[in-house]
């Protein structure tokens, strides 16, 4: 137990430097900085994301897990391209790369598809980390290259066999996406982004989250540097009915897992139905970015006070 910060003074200053550079990057591109609430009446129903909850006047309030829904309401109201640097909260996520309270950069570009946004992300990474131009590889190609399996056209058994052939015998019972995730984490991620940033794009449609589905794949991407996932982006779904169906499917999964059933964000669903522009958006973990900027190995080296000393 120490009252002192876990991050060094050098790294505390590095954070200020990086935030200033990000703001300059977006100012030069005419992207508007915005703020949205951290406390909201609804939260994401994704069964794999858990929210902190509190109450006010007997009503539930949640700490946001991402500013996505509120920023999309701003986009529908006509702001044009926007960005935000804010705190986000995920219950029970703690480790070398996770803190339950973390800093997120999220931005949306009107009239960008996911490829155009990947290009801008690459420019930001170059501006901050002097990285070489990124490589791009589809989700399918990454599995074919590293595991010799087609993730879009294989069975649950194929995935289980592939895991066993690679020496993974200690895994609990998982569904198809669970197996895809564990194979990605164990055998693909460790190879990504060592000479230049790596974009993985076009995810299985079962992992679309809030991305559009086109040609049977989700227009979603992730960015890796030094084997660490840094950001996740979507060509944003703009169909309110499909969005509601995905939320309802998530709520059903939550019910099976005996998880809380949070209310859906009806404001967000209304915004999608009202002049929501064609756009792409991405969320980047600032703390992990700082780990790369300062060449540190653990998140508590770049956060002054983590969950362990706050």
């Amino acid at each position: 137990m120490s009252w002192q910060p876990s991050a060094s003074l050098i790294n505390i200053r590095a954070r200020a430097e990086v935030l200033a550079k990000i703001r300059a990057f977006f100012a030069a591109r005419d992207v508007l900085e915005v703020e949205t609430p951290l406390l909201t009446h609804s939260t994401i129903p994704d069964p794999n994301i858990a929210s902190f909850k509190t109450t006010l006047n007997n009503k539930n309030l949640y700490l946001q897990t991402s500013p996505e829904f509120a920023m999309k309401r701003l986009l529908a109201s006509g702001t044009e391209s926007i960005y935000q640097i804010c705190k986000a909260f995920r219950y029970d996520e703690s480790g070398k790369l996770h803190n339950p309270e973390f800093t997120m950069l999220e931005w949306y570009r009107v009239d960008f598809d996911h490829h155009a946004l990947m290009q801008e992300m690459d420019a930001l990474l170059h501006a901050l980390l002097q990285t070489k131009p990124a490589e791009k590889i589809t989700y399918q190609e990454s599995f074919q290259k590293h595991l010799n399996i087609d993730p879009l056209n294989c069975s649950l058994d194929d995935l289980r066999t592939c895991a066993q052939q690679n020496g993974l015998n200690d895994i609990p019972d998982l569904d198809k996406d669970g197996w895809l995730n564990i194979l990605l984490i164990r055998f693909i991620e460790p190879h990504l982004g060592f000479t230049q940033p790596t974009f993985i794009y076009n995810f299985p449609k079962s992992q679309a989250a809030l991305a559009r589905i086109n040609d049977d794949v989700a227009e979603r991407f992730e960015v890796y540097i030094n084997g660490v996932e840094l950001a996740n982006g979507f060509h944003e779904l703009s169909d309110t009915n499909e969005q509601r169906q995905r939320f309802i499917a998530d709520l059903k999964k939550r019910a099976q897992l005996k998880l809380e059933q949070p209310p859906l964000d009806e404001y967000f669903l209304q915004a999608l139905a009202n002049n929501f522009p064609n756009c792409s958006g991405v969320a980047l973990g600032i703390d992990r970015l700082l780990m790369l900027y300062t060449k540190t190995k653990a998140i508590n080296e770049v956060i002054a006070f983590t969950i362990d000393n706050c």
Partner: protein, 189 residues
Amino acid sequence: MANFSTSEFKQGLKVIIDNDPCNILENEFVKPGKGQAFNRVKYRNLVTGRTLEKTFKSGESLPGADVIEIEAQYLYDDGEFCHFMHPETFEQYQATANAVGDTKKWLKEQDSYTITLYNDQPILVSAPNFVVLKVTQTDPGLKGDTATGGSKPATLETGAIVKVPLFVNEGDLLKIDTRTGEYASRAKE
């Protein structure tokens, strides 16, 4: 015993995995951008002594294991059990051949060993890193030959056979590294 969830797995926590008491060594939280979170856990099975890895879905829980370690003196072997005694409480413990395992060859009466108790039963007996034992049998030493290499077998008072330098004589006290089973040096009484 209470149950512990993956987020409570800390180094040193004793839990039951696959019916055996285990000691958590490392717990790494891994989560893909979107999707199920996992905990990669490295642990030592306290019955077999083996270090293993297992991946859990985050939020799973395991029953705690009532495991403690004590220091106890070796008393004797009755052919079925090795008997030990706690030097302060005088409580006696009997360990099976399984629990004693390879440590048997380092057991010397009156000396102190670490015993891992699970539900009050010894499951593992470990020797200190170094023990001092007397040579009971070895071929005659070669006088003056203290520098050149070469070794010969020597039988120690516990029955263990170790390779020793040529100058070692019967009756000498030797310091042995129990982790490798190798001769370390000569020792004084």
